[in-house]
């Protein structure tokens, strides 16, 4: 888990060990809006990136998260590099949280090895550490996937994944 200033916690154990990925230095600017009390000029510097192995063609993946309709809480997001891990929701290459200050948030993941990635993000609006669901398992808090596909369940990896060859920007619209 990462908060402003960035202190990795136990969730790092999900980071892919062979690549020795770890949370490192990256800037995530947050715009402040009416959900924030009295900190109008605050720019949070949250870091969340991956550093380390200087891979030859490492690239940045910038994610603009839009339509955060509930105030407060945190975005919790996971990045997967295979259909298997994506489907099982296990062993994401990155798993992190960032506080919510505004209706949009920009996140940049630095120095990812070239590959195919899919992003799952949800808005833990009540900060209880999970995506709240009802008794039928239907999500009650906001969530989204890269490529914004899927209805009544997450899209398949093939539909949610984006190729990363050079620096890439994507938008995820929370629903």
């Amino acid at each position: 888990m990462v908060s402003a200033g960035g202190t990795p916690n136990a969730q790092n154990k999900h980071l892919n060990p062979p690549l020795s990925l770890r949370l490192g230095q990256a800037i995530i600017p947050h715009r402040i809006d009416e959900w924030d009390n009295g900190m109008k000029s605050f720019l949070a510097a949250i870091t969340l990136a991956i550093q380390p192995l200087q891979l030859a063609q490492a690239a940045d993946l910038s994610i603009l998260i839009e339509n955060i309709t509930d105030p407060g809480g945190a975005l919790s997001w996971s990045v997967f590099d295979s259909a298997e891990t994506y489907k099982n929701d296990r062993s994401p290459v990155i798993e992190a949280r960032s506080r919510v200050y505004a209706a949009t948030t920009q996140v940049t993941l630095h120095d990812l090895p070239p590959g195919v990635y899919a992003v799952k993000v949800f808005h833990d609006a009540n900060s209880n550490g999970k995506l709240d669901r009802n008794i039928l398992g239907i999500p009650l808090e906001g969530y989204g996937f890269s490529n914004n596909k899927g209805r009544f369940g997450p899209p398949a990896f093939a539909k949610a994944s984006v190729p990363l060859e050079g620096d890439t920007q994507i938008r995820i619209r929370l629903r």
Binding site: I138, Y143, F152
Partner: protein
Amino acid sequence: MRRRDFLIGLPTALAAAHALPRAVFAELPPSWAIGFAGVESDLAPLPMSVQGRLPAPCQGTLFRNGPALYQRAGQRYGHWFDPDGMIQAFRFAADQVVHQGRFVRTERLLKESAAGRFLFNGAGSKISGAMPERNNETLNVANINVQLVGDELLALWEAGSAYRVDPDSLETLGVQHWSKELAGVPFSAHPRTDESGNLWNIGSASFAGSNPRLVLYQISAAGQLKKFRVHPLDFAGYMHDFILTPRYMIALNSSAISTMTESETFVGSVKWMPEQPSQLLVFDRQTLDHVKTIEVPATFVFHFGNAWEDQQQLEWTACAYPNSNFMTIGMARLAQQQPGPYYSDLTLVRYRLDLNKSRCQIEPLDVDLEFPAFDRRAPFSPQPLYGASGSGSSASGLATAVMRIDPRSGDAQRYDYGPDYIVEEPQLIGGDYLMHSFLDHRRGRSGVAILRAAALADGPILLAEMERILPLGFHGCFVAAA
């Protein structure tokens, strides 16, 4: 072969209808199409012109709900299920009748109203540029029924929560939360009351694709959740109403099966599967345990009459359709003001279920009674059933008459208003009077009629009318004056 007949043979008839250019009437749309024009804002209190004398038991308010907001920013919904719900109140006092209409302020209505356009697909129509929805609740339009529970109204949908509405102001008070884990869980539009005022309901999560489930609820007379239970379903058949008996809740898992996918609407995903027998799912009221599943020939039912027990047999009535074409094709054509056929070819049937032997007899009563009404003070007595009738022979495929029938003897009485009228769901008031709203589409008036239940054939004893045209709706309730 005319093109509209050709369309019927297609497996996904609704999707096909959307993809093709809109069929049009040779000349002007027929006069009844005004019932699907819709309204775009709340309707302020308006006195109605009244003929006849108001019987004392009919002092009170007829509340009705129905799809009302058909278009925004040049886009129009293409299915009767979709427009936002509006509560109509017809307040009957000794000296006047006043109508008022107010939209239910659902989360969806507030968002779309702020955006100035539709944002999400409907249950039966696609919107261009639709945003993905968070869950079923995002699509909630609270437009099927309105019932008094405790001292508040519930505006009921069937694929999500009910909304609480103030009976005096018609203001929306918020989402009805039964409990935290039931947030956003479907609560169907036809809750039923037992002999002591408890409310029972189903919630059908047939949209949940490969994992369809049925939720059972018991609510106290005051409106508190007493218990609930979630049961898995063998298949995702459309379920709209259920049967309540002194000991059981019985749901009919119909053979109109949803296979929800990313690209279709809910209605578009419903396939009629005649080779799949329908299922009577019998649950114990005390425990909400599943007791038995009894297969019956493939059928489609929106509404049931009341149920009674006759020795070892459970008996009830159902408004049965030969397939789901009315929902998947007819209701889209009506909302789009397109020519028929509309497939409203229903028949009232009498079920006799021997639970011990798992044997069920289904006998057609040869009347096209829909929107069944009965004396709710005696929910488990064999009694006459009232309803709207005439849909089988009208140009619009909608009812033009009110009728009553004794389901055991078959004795029936009827009053037909003729082809200029569409008759909506009747309410039985104190066992003596029948009250129903109607659309006089030739003269362009909406109204409410009262008939004596014992002498329906004599016609109305009171007519309240206005030049304000209301969109045709679904269900409601009568609340007597205090």
